[in-house]
Symmetry: D3
Subunit: 124 residues, 6 copies
């Protein structure tokens, strides 16, 4: 791990590495879940941007840092503004309570890194 | 309780009744939370419709039937279509797993009642 | 079920009935858990009253109505005042978020019943 | 609802009724999840009996009564004995804590009904 | 990070740093939640010490290490004794089950550090 | 920490170290829970292998990495095959949803390490 890497870069590298191990052992059903999990966020009646906000806020109230980071990156890619992101964070906080605050701290730090450094592999 | 009442009508009646008891005993901080909890869903950078979808999907993955019903009614009021509602349900299911299915069954039944009978106190 | 029974009375009757079925089938380890579960709330370095408040607030954030009702009754028995109860409720709400509100509504209704009718089997 | 119906019969009737509403509105992804959710419990490297015990114990620690009842019925169908069921219950209790006890009470009552009345539609 | 820092010191440093980022982007409602979250633990009908025990035990059963550490430090500040802390831990364990044990291990290690090194910035 | 240690070795070392601190401060009830927690996984009506699969899958849906790793090691010790492990993983994924995926990635990586390096202290 290079010291200067952002959380987003570190996450994507580790995620790819570990998904390779999962898929090496995965049976048919596990693979079907992975495929389904991509499909539900695609543009449909609701645009991908709204769907990523749903992915983000559900991950926040369930308090999974990796899931939160994944959807933080995707929200940024879909053009969510800082004001919109902050409102989604605040709904998650109201619904899920103060127990979500440590995750919100890390999410906001990662959002700041995306603002400062842009998307992994794309720059600002 | 009248037999023919919809789930939405029964819920709103009981909710009002019980909130009166809560507010009778509520101190300053509890009242502040109630007030904050209304404020976060108002139109802002994100429209109220999107915020209610966030309220709905977070309630679904946290599996609280009353919260799900509340936001189901609010989504309907904000003009969410059946196709949009179904996609929010499916994201909740993918994120939260099969453990959400009994809640999805009840949510879809309540959505159908809203389609059939309209909003409580407003008709179709 | 008699219509006029309080939630506390109905709960205790059903709880006794079902615990009899559990204990009929219970092995040694399940019985040990039941015994341990009573022991942890007894007076110790912390008084039983504080321990019941801990039992109540943990049940509230985990959102189990039966557990909440059990500890609501026990808090009342241990002389918790309405002001103290309301503060424990508010901490649960702040920690656990709005998803706890439906449970708070029911808890406050049950507290009101205890204030109005006293403990089950003891009267006011 | 007939008064004398077992919990298993009432559950299966309501489940079928509500699943019809869900499937009426379901898009492709929601249907794929339903299909996947059946597939994962079929005989494979692990026998269906073990898989139903996994379904039961995960539902117990996540505290979903309908899911618990569904897998209780399926465990009974797969020939799980009362001793085996009790041990799965006790593991769920140890892992998930006393917050699972109200669900265990209901699960054991339903198990007793299955012992007394047999499977819905099949008799003893 | 200096190697010899306690978990409490590292946590408070990181918490301050990240809260600065949160507050830079925070809207009115997010700030109101932060303010409310401080208010609920102040002396009232229940003393701050009891309230911190409630904050600790709810954080333990919801299994949030940062929240647990925050309230562990606050319990220590409020004069909670090791015997009292251990009883609050045990109630959390009974309510929340063995899934809390890894968090209990870390909480006890942090408590031991507080016993050995005193509060961050204050010494023993 | 030696760089080349597997996750299993690091976990067992840290677990032993921290359990010593817990047990130093543990009262009677906390010790009873630890003892009960070992007892429920022993051979009984269900074999230890099945019980460890139950411990694994409940830990997975409750999303506790340390608990998952503990039962991953125990499953490997009890002779669970990779195919059986993958099916237990997939049931956890279906029940608990995509929020479990980051834990599944880490579980599969640890399983791969066990396949490659054998049990801690025993070799391949």
């Amino acid at each position: 791990m290079k010291k200067e890497d952002t959380a987003a870069i570190r996450f994507q590298r580790e995620r790819d590495e570990l998904n390779n191990i999962v898929l090496k052992h995965a049976g048919k059903n596990l693979k079907r879940f992975y495929s389904l999990d991509s499909a539900v966020y695609r543009d449909g009646a609701l645009p991908a941007k709204t769907k990523e906000l749903l992915g983000f806020s559900t991950s926040l109230v369930l308090r999974c840092d990796d899931c939160i980071l994944y959807h933080t990156i995707r929200c940024f890619e879909e053009g969510v503004t800082t004001e919109e992101f902050e409102e989604a964070v605040t709904i998650g906080l109201a619904v899920g309570g103060s127990i979500t605050i440590p995750h919100i701290r890390r999410a906001m730090k990662n959002w700041q890194e995306l603002l400062d450094h842009g998307l992994p592999g794309k720059g600002k």
